[in-house]
Symmetry: C2
């Protein structure tokens, strides 16, 4: 019998390692890039894991593939379903298409049109709903009852958490001289929880970066009581969700802290990343570099692994001018 981890959670590094093996044929092993200019600007040594270059344009392909490829054939045959503001929906649609099964995605009406178009391009059925967690969940429940489709939640799911952790796992394996800490955005908490399993295994500090206008993770961690409702107000459209229960438990135990940033800081960070790395990253990805700039005491002199979580933006609707 395998030993359970000392932190007492359901998941540990072995789940992330197994996910990494399972999804290898279906995802990109994304590159890690560096910039001497950004290092000079921040006083830290920064390693950016390019999940904006991941299949379907975001790390979400990792969790989605990990879930879809472990479904028994008879479950898979009934198709999969989820609710998503965008990237998870596209990733699940893609994973289902790869395995040759159906997918239905419940999408809030305020979702990013580029992300919605991506979902459609992978052949999934799109069902629209009001932009609240309640509407999203009840929309899914209704379709599950009708069709028997299997729910793959966007973040509050062990398979998703383990899958999202594989980005950090690749990073700590690829960066030979080691890291001091890991920094990722936090929305529903799939990426942060998965990353923290890797950090715990390697003895690295792990931080989450979060928009001030959707700071439920910050408040949940501060009070010890999970915030389950908020009216998010942030340009970071991937981070408007509230923290899942499983995610909260893992984050509470393994994460060092949540660093909040303003939308102005996020947009400035996004411009720096575009200008220096020549990479298209979405606002949700830029909260990390914003946090590095805002909290120098956490990062200066450290070797920092950062996950650039996604690159799905609508070029016609960039937040640059709106805020500057």
């Amino acid at each position: 019998m395998a030993l359970r981890p000392k932190h007492g959670l359901n998941l540990d590094i072995r789940d992330v390692q197994a996910a990494s093996e399972r999804i290898r044929p279906h995802i990109h092993h994304t590159p890690v890039v560096t910039s001497s200019r950004l290092d000079a600007e921040s006083g830290a040594r920064l390693f950016f894991k390019c999940e904006n270059l991941q299949k379907a344009g975001a790390f979400k392909s990792r969790g989605a593939c990990n879930a879809v490829y472990q479904l028994p054939p008879e479950v898979a045959a009934r198709g999969v379903i989820t609710h998503s503001s965008g990237n998870h929906g596209a990733a699940l649609a893609r994973a289902a298409q790869l395995r040759g099964i159906g997918a239905t995605i419940v999408v809030p009406t305020n979702a990013n049109p580029v992300k919605k178009a991506a979902i459609a391009s992978y052949g999934a059925l799109i069902v629209e709903c009001e932009p609240t967690l309640e509407a999203r969940e009840s929309g899914v429940a209704k379709i599950v009852e009708e069709t028997g489709a299997h729910l793959v939640p966007p973040y509050d799911d062990d398979r998703i958490i383990a899958g999202q952790g594989t980005a950090a796992l690749e990073m700590v394996r690829d960066i030979k001289d080691g890291l001091d800490l890991l920094l990722v955005p936090v929305g529903g908490g799939g990426l942060l929880a998965g990353t923290s399993l890797v950090g715990a295994d390697r003895g690295l500090a792990v931080f989450g970066a979060e928009p001030e206008g959707a700071d439920d993770a910050y408040r949940s961690l501060a009070t010890g009581i999970r915030v389950t409702e908020q009216v998010p107000k942030t340009v970071a459209d991937g981070l408007r969700t509230t923290l899942g229960q499983r995610n909260f438990e893992i984050i509470q135990m393994l994460v060092s802290g949540i660093l909040r940033v303003s939308d102005l800081e996020t947009v400035a960070a996004m411009k720096r990343l575009w200008t220096r790395l020549k990479l298209v990253v979405e606002p949700s990805s830029a909260v990390t570099y914003a946090a590095i700039t805002r909290y120098p005491e956490v990062f200066q002199g450290r070797r920092v692994g950062v996950v650039l979580s996604g690159g799905n933006i609508d070029p016609d609707d960039l937040p640059f001018n709106a805020l500057s």
Copy 2:
């Protein structure tokens, strides 16, 4: 004695090969990326050479290093000078800084501010002038007379042409299954002329892509008379220059054709490249994909090597909304 090439020009593939060896320590060997979506959209097999990820953000670092690193010490000691709307200036400033010599860059008043900031960041002296070729050249001549600085022209120079050709040389070496044709933007013609030396050596067709609002290369090739003055009107700020004399001679002999595209097509292409490749490319780089879309008869069914020439944009001044 080395044989001169059969086409009767001063330059041939050996100059490009020598440049490639000379500049190797000072530039990036940039990656080649592909996109199954863009392939499906275009009906061609596209290979994008990422010179937007090149040092100083553009292929211009190749020619600039090739020129600077073959100067005799006593010439180099007096510093280098050029006129440039941006990328060549930044590239020359960087090359001079690397070699530890001075650089003066004469910059037209309408130059892209991001490119101007890049020049300054490499420690060069910036001198502003009116945005005409005459003003640029007379500005340079005056400073050369005063300081004895060595002129490194932006494109009408054998060292520059050979250096710019190294991007295509890397590409034909790296793409093991071969290519049918090469496609690059044309402004002053350094990149196109250098690329055509590689194409001639490998027996590949070579095309240039050019904005309709700065179509001097198209008209020069059509009439056989080099256009030396134009009032350019295009979002592609790197392509507003007119073709150099040496460049014209090489292009006339070795290039299959010049494909013109509108600014609307260029901006649409830039959005596609950003959205699908997740790479920041400047408008001057997007004329190539615009040409692929507009002239399917040239590209369909072919294996096409495309140089994404640069990624220096100002996030606050994107041309998206102006044109849509």
